[in-house]
Amino acid sequence: MRIARLASAYLASRPLLTALNATMLALGVATITFLLLVTTQAEDRLTRDAKPVDLVVGAKGSPLQLILSTVFHADVPTGNIDLAQAQAIRRNPMIASAIPLALGDSFRGHRIVGTEASYLDLYGAKLAQGALFAGEMEAVVGSEVARRHGLAVGATLTGAHGLAAAGPAHEGHPYRVVGILAPSGTVVDRLVVTPVESVWHVHEEHAPPRPEITALLVRYATPLAAAMLPRAINANTAMQAASPAYESARLLDLAGVGVDTLRWFAVVLMASAALSLFVALTSALQERRYDLALLRTLGARPASLAALTLVEGVTLLVAGVILGLALGHGAAHALGLWLAGAGSWPLTGLVWVDGEAALVATVLATGALTCLVPAVQAYSSDPASLLAKR
């Protein structure tokens, strides 16, 4: 206890150096914590949105674009497919369910999805208020859409062409909000959902002669379908089939390169922090070698001097880790608030993600090892030769 008090007195006697050392450590910890929070939540989100859909059947083009547009609602569709052709696929016995999607318009940046009620079941979305759509131009809105735009049951909204908030509007075709969805933690929270017929109705002036939809969201009836169905569709029809699991893994791989780079950068940051901790402790040891000798003359055991150095280093370490976690979570939360303002996917700093425990353990272990070297020096210092040389 007295040794710990002495260690804190030493730290307090050099406030600037102490603060700088803790801050250096904190920056490394904060960077990695931030990356962990953002990537974990992004991956969770992608996985949760992609999971209920085994296959998307849509117009030919980039498979990634098809998935981005129909599953994550973050891109424009690759085009439309013939309804009759799509219906033919629906009859395939390897398919458990196939939900049609008709896309095209958005409400203030929120996609308007023409589909069936089963689309909501796919994500387990439940009604919080009102009822499900029963006819054309009725819509249920996601919790996020309702919250941001103050929509209640009975309100009307009009779509605008495209995904951008300021596309050309379809003023003559208002939707009536008949239900508000409870938060589901999925993409549905940010959507306006309506029957396919509504979308056809809004676009009937420039409708093609045969009815079209944007895509089919398919669930397999048998694992065998994964091996056979995509190949059959891609080879034998004018449509393409893309797997959300595969495309989102590809997307994460692409983003992962950047994240890995940042992660290495953070590791370098932490290594330099560890080095600065080492330098600080070693120079402190040099500075107070007479103090240590004095403590020995008072009867202090070599182990007590090692403990003194260790306590000092570990105190800095723990302060740095706590500060770093606070900074990392704060930054993630700030980014989350900013993203929420921009209507993007939700991010919070108020959760504790899996990798953090391992991060803290690694930092503490590495730091403690770093402190061990000066501690051993303190342990093996010889007071008699120091006193005789003076």
């Binding site: 002495l6 003359t297 008072l298 009867g299 070599p302 007590s304 006193l387 005789a388 003076r390």
Partner: protein
């Protein structure tokens, strides 16, 4: 010379070599319990080494050093640390105190390291006997050299040691302070019945001691 029964310190055939050179040689020297003795010699004559050996901070090349009958040179390092903490009070020339903590905390550290309970009443008693009660709360690095010397004496006697070893306690002080420090050292040693050894090359204090060892 005193008989073995009342001897606090008995040195026989002591020799210490450093880098192939004999830096200290004391064939025989006895100091009686409660005596005040002077170790005289020029710089480099081994005064500090002798005190280090007696304090159990260094192991001599040859010889025995008995303190209250027990041979210090035979103790294990851990036993020596414990022996030093309980029996020896050290006063050094410039190396006085831990600067980053208060005067009181310096004395508490001495009590703690000696394995004794923290006794603030004893600390107050010692500080007041040295007329430095007002310094208790002051940070040790903020006080003057003369004050620090007194605090160092206070710390040396706070555990009521059997042996007080002072290494050049006065050479950093001016004549007036030298006289005062010496008087305090003698007075404090007498107050706790300790045997006092003062190693010095300071000729100003020769006359105050009857017993001397010339190195």
């Amino acid at each position: 010379m005193s008989g073995p029964a009342s001897a606090m310190l008995e040195i026989r055939g002591l020799r210490h070599d450093y880098a192939g050179r004999t830096v200290l040689a004391v064939p025989a020297w006895d100091v009686a319990r409660g005596d005040a003795s002077l170790v005289l010699g020029p710089s480099g004559s081994g005064k500090t080494t002798l005190l280090n050996v007696i304090a159990g901070l260094a192991t001599p090349t040859a010889g025995t050093v008995r303190v209250a009958g027990a041979d210090v040179t035979r103790l294990t390092p851990a036993q020596r640390d414990a022996y030093r903490a309980r029996n020896v009070g050290l006063v050094l020339q410039t190396l006085h105190l831990i600067g980053v903590v208060s005067v009181r905390e310096n004395l508490r550290l001495a009590q703690h390291l000696a394995g004794a309970a923290i006794d603030d009443r004893r600390i107050d008693e010692v500080l007041s006997s040295l007329a430095i009660s007002g310094l208790a709360g002051a940070r040790a690095r903020d006080i003057s050299v003369g004050e620090a010397q007194r605090v160092a004496i206070a710390r040396a006697v706070v555990n009521r040691p059997a042996l007080i070893l002072a290494d050049e306690p006065t050479s950093a002080l001016d004549d007036a302070n030298c006289e005062k420090a010496l008087a305090l050292l003698l007075e404090q040693a007498a107050a706790c019945g300790a045997t006092l050894l003062v190693a010095t090359h300071d000729n100003r204090i020769r006359g105050r001691f009857d017993r001397r060892l010339e190195l």
